[in-house]
């Protein structure tokens, strides 16, 4: 008998009875964001979970992101985004970009091997979805082009459409098709650790800082 057969057979023999029914998921008060494809249909389930506490999602997202160690800024346009990056990281030698708004010294599309990203000072990417309660942005292989950009860059800058923020993780999972990309990550602030006496330190292994710039994409190529 193969290990597979043996395990499945043992599980079948031992599954507890009576069986327990799968509860329906009462999802959150999802707000239509409608800016991208790759999302499933909007939620129609009953709102059960309170949405953004204390008003609209964006301020809540910013507070939560800050609590996770990240920062966020409003930028008026592409030029303002580039200026903000230059202002925040004046000493940066290698800016590696995955977005059209910021050319960068290096285009991630040109990278052949993830190890080439070991010297990146600032990575620039665009997220298609933010989650207010977690202060998190969703990034996939399509957004990052080379997944390692999100974790090898010393500093990460994430462009986010301010209207693409949902209240809770329930909303995010209802909208996203997580299986559509081989890699998808909710990133909430920079890399962190509390492993030494519980002291919170940012920049453990991945990005030292995470900055969100609120900027709608100039070309809504995602829209149907």
């Amino acid at each position: 008998m193969t290990a597979r057969e043996a395990i499945l057979e043992a599980v079948r023999r031992n599954v507890p009875r009576p069986a327990v029914a799968l509860p329906p998921l009462l999802a959150a008060g999802a707000q239509a964001i409608g800016t991208s494809i790759g999302f499933k249909e909007h939620l129609t389930d009953l709102p059960e979970v309170p949405g953004c506490q204390g008003g609209p999602c964006l301020p809540h997202f910013r507070r939560q992101l800050e609590a996770m160690g990240g920062t966020s800024f409003d930028v008026a346009d592409d030029a303002a985004a580039r200026a903000k990056i230059a202002e925040l990281f004046p000493a940066a030698k290698v800016v590696c970009s995955a977005v059209p708004e910021v050319p960068g010294a290096r285009r991630v599309e040109q990278v052949r091997d993830p190890r080439e990203l070991g010297d990146v000072d600032v990575g620039v990417v665009r997220s298609r979805l933010g989650v207010a309660e977690a202060g998190a942005v969703w990034l996939t292989q399509e957004d990052l082009v080379v997944n390692a950009l999100g974790v090898l860059a010393q500093h990460l800058v994430v462009l986010l459409d301010p209207t693409a923020v949902v209240p809770t993780m329930h909303d995010a999972y209802a909208l996203l098709d997580v299986a559509a990309s081989p890699y998808g990550v909710f990133m909430a602030g920079p890399s962190a650790t509390g492993d030494i006496e519980g002291v919170i330190i940012h920049g453990a292994q991945g990005a030292r800082t995470l900055t969100v710039l609120f900027l709608a994409p100039a070309i809504r190529k995602d829209q149907p």
Partner: protein, 461 residues
């Protein structure tokens, strides 16, 4: 016969290190307080606990189907799926994969399952360099110790311990015990290892049957670096990690880090569905006594565990005695109910390393009846005749007294009189371990029964 772990003696050694014990207690209790604050911000918390518990129970009562579904979908995405009955089979499977790819150096992120399997020493013996990438786990690897906590593996250590360790092992300044400096020193040491590794290994927090993918939660992003830099990614997944739907993740992700550290989410919540561009992905589905536990009416609920560590942070015994006192892969209350399932003989003392206060059950996000299971393991140990002599004698005297009301009332009055008049040394002696760190409360004038009888007489009923 393997000698049983003696958690009391091991805890006593930790408690003797006064600064370690007090710092550990403070830091771990701090995590519990952060958890309370985070939970208070989620009014639907109890509803989430109920949902999480039901989803896990549903999955476990249909586990064969979900395993097959996961395998089918994962395979469709291009993931290689392997199965392992036990730890040796897991390790051999992993080694075969690594060998087939000519892997010499491996970067791994924290996996309790790989700890459980003793994978690292197994691979090291076969010439593979294994580097832990989680800071706490790396500290433990360099110390040749198992993790003392599921979430923060080196939390029993002081910053000065880490400063000395890093000075010896990676050449940092022995006089600098600033945690920021120490974390930076390890970042500098780990980066080249990440870039030079031939393969990465991770565990998984959740595996989703309907999609064939899995989710890894870290705060350092170390699993993500591993999965994105070397071309080969191997994940070890316990068969109990399955959940049915991607949407179920909303429930669990909202609870995991709030329960663990009191943050709304881990910094990285990473979803892997098939190999990344230019990469190869393997998963090893591991049983290792889980299917057997599934058949135990008293203990199968422990398989619901999502490894958040909340039960450890709240446990008065864990906080004082430290995680290494359990002498096992899993420590704290969840360890007390998991470890005897792996080796009853070795871990027979663990169910007694608890005050049965029940706080673990209260904070468990998936509603595992942890304290009830601790009690049930005590019964198993007693039924197998494995109780220690001191417990057997004490218990049978107690049983005789509690079993006979007259004897109990007599004993009650006598002991209270005795407590009030016995010299102090009679209570605080070497034979009474409970007296070592405690003072008794003032003795009431009357027993509750005496008071009750008087008042019943007065009220006339």
């Amino acid at each position: 016969m393997m000698r049983a772990v003696d958690p009391e003696a091991r805890a006593a050694r930790f408690i003797a290190l006064e600064e370690h014990e007090s710092t550990h207690d403070r830091v771990v209790w701090g995590m519990r307080q952060h958890r309370d604050k985070a939970v208070a911000g989620v009014p639907e918390w109890e509803k989430l606990r109920e949902l999480a518990s039901q989803i896990k129970e549903h999955t476990l009562t249909h586990l064969d189907r979900y395993l097959e579904q996961f395998e089918e979908n994962a395979t469709r995405l291009g993931t290689h799926v392997h199965w392992a009955r036990d730890a040796p089979e897991h390790n051999a499977t992993v080694y075969d994969i690594l060998q087939a790819h000519g892997v010499r150096s491996l970067i791994k992120s924290k996996s309790m399952l790989q700890e459980e399997c003793g994978m690292t020493p197994y691979l090291e013996k076969r010439g593979i360099t294994v580097t832990e990438s989680d800071l706490g786990e790396r500290i433990q690897q360099l110390s040749h110790e198992p993790p003392s906590h599921i979430v923060v593996p080196a939390i029993h250590k002081l910053r000065t311990d880490v400063a000395q360790l890093f000075a010896r092992e990676i050449g940092s300044d022995p006089g600098n015990a600033d945690p920021h400096y120490l974390a930076e020193a390890m970042r500098g040491n780990a980066r080249p290892r990440f870039l030079a590794a031939d393969a990465a290994m991770t565990g998984a927090n959740f595996a989703v049957a309907e999609t064939g993918g899995f989710v890894v939660c870290t705060n350092e992003g170390n699993a993500d670096i591993g999965a994105s830099v070397p071309p080969l990614h191997v994940a070890s997944i316990g068969i109990e990690k399955l959940i049915p739907r991607a949407r179920d993740l909303g429930v669990f992700i909202r609870m995991l880090s709030r329960s663990a550290l009191g943050t709304a989410i881990t910094q990285y919540t990473s979803h892997f569905h098939g190999p990344r561009r230019g990469g190869e992905l393997h998963v090893v589905l591991v049983d290792d006594t889980r299917s057997e536990r599934l058949g135990s009416p008293d203990f199968w609920h422990a398989l619901k565990c999502i490894r958040c560590g909340a039960c450890m942070n709240t446990c008065p015994v864990y906080r004082r005695g430290g995680g290494l006192s359990y002498g096992a892969t899993y420590s704290g209350p969840i360890g007390v109910i998991l470890d005897p399932g792996f080796d009853l003989e070795k871990y027979r003392e663990l169910p007694f390393h608890s005050s049965l206060c029940g706080s673990c059950t209260e904070v468990c996000p998936v509603k595992i009846d942890i304290s009830d299971q601790i009690y049930k393991w005590r019964r198993v140990v007693a039924a197998k005749g494995m109780l220690r002599l001191t417990k057997r004698v004490g218990m049978s005297a107690l049983g005789a007294t509690l079993g006979h009301p007259t004897a109990f009332h007599a004993a009650e009055s006598v002991s209270e009189t005795a407590l009030a008049h016995l010299p102090r040394f009679a209570l605080y002696n070497a034979l009474n371990p409970w007296g070592r760190h405690r003072e008794l409360p003032a003795v009431p004038r009357r027993t509750f029964r005496q008071w009750y009888l008087e008042h019943r007489a007065k009220s006339g009923d």
